[in-house]
Amino acid sequence: MRALQASTSYSVGVGISSVALPPQPSPHRHVILAKVDPTDKSVEIMRKFSEQYARRSGTYFCVDKGVTSVVIKGLAEHKDTLGAPLCPCRHYDDKDTEAQQGFWNCPCVPMRERKECHCMLFLTPDNGFAGQEQTISSEEIRETTANL
């Protein structure tokens, strides 16, 4: 279901110091935008992929496994909605086109060519945020993303 990609309306995710709400209903059209969790199946696929790819590339997960978990879930969410694990740490004009084009599908070109992962998912040992692990359990993912 592609309800998430509705392009006609956006929520006001803006901080404002004071708001005066009008008493009458708004004349503007409202559209419901839903926030959805990735499926367990996709999360498991991306979890296994992340472990394998970290091993293969000689990179390590972040000391804060919460970062790793959020990115894995972001990849899973894109896999569900777009059919490909598009990098969750980027803003795109057109996600469908990007997913088809492939540059930012995980593992993205910058990662494959230069081991550059700005998502902090795959970290080279010299990176200050790199931990010692190349594994992450489903439990860890569940626990660290319980609040999201």
């Binding site: 956006y10 803006v14 708001v19 919460g66 970062v67 980027r90």
Partner: protein
């Protein structure tokens, strides 16, 4: 300025970090979606018949024209420089920065105002400022960008970067 969201059920933008048990009282310093509390806690659950989606929260949205003009007004009316954090829910480094931003927002409360923009919900604002990598931070002074940087960092580094930028003579 009235942001007409009469039936609005906003999702609070400043969410608790999954990585630390941050004290929610600090959120009062942290300019996020500050609608009256009776609206903030209201949530719709699972009214949608789409069986495959598990809906957590639903946000009624304003027209995109309003979101952009609200943001512009916020920048114009602010008496302090505004640090804007462009983020996305499933961006790891963005979530990493949540407690750090809360800390910096509190410690620099006299110097800056911190605002967070969800780029998935506000793509027009993100497009306007040509946001690509997340998180991107833009420091606005007198309504105009005066510094811009990307990526997660420690609180000390963030403070240093902001203070250095603010010292630059206009």
């Amino acid at each position: 300025m009235a942001v007409s969201l009469a039936a609005a059920i906003p999702r609070t933008v400043a969410r608790t970090s999954p990585f630390s048990s941050s004290d929610n009282s600090m959120l009062s310093h942290f300019s996020s979606l500050q609608f009256p509390s009776e609206l903030r806690t209201f949530r719709i659950r699972n009214h949608c018949p789409i069986s495959k989606l598990r809906l957590r929260t639903i946000t009624l949205v304003a027209s995109k024209k309003q979101a952009l003009s609200s943001f512009d007004e916020l920048l114009d009316n602010s008496d302090k420089p505004v640090l804007v954090d462009f983020y996305a829910t499933w961006c790891g480094p963005c979530q990493f920065m949540v407690p750090i931003l809360e800390q910096v927002s509190t410690s620099m409360i006299d110097k800056i105002q911190v605002v967070k923009i969800d780029t998935e919900e506000n793509p027009m604002i993100a497009d306007k400022y040509k946001i690509e990598a997340l998180p991107t931070f833009i420091l606005f002074r007198d309504g105009k960008p005066c510094d811009r940087f990307e990526g997660a960092m420690a609180a000390e580094q963030l403070v240093k970067r902001i203070e250095t930028s603010l010292q630059v003579k206009e």
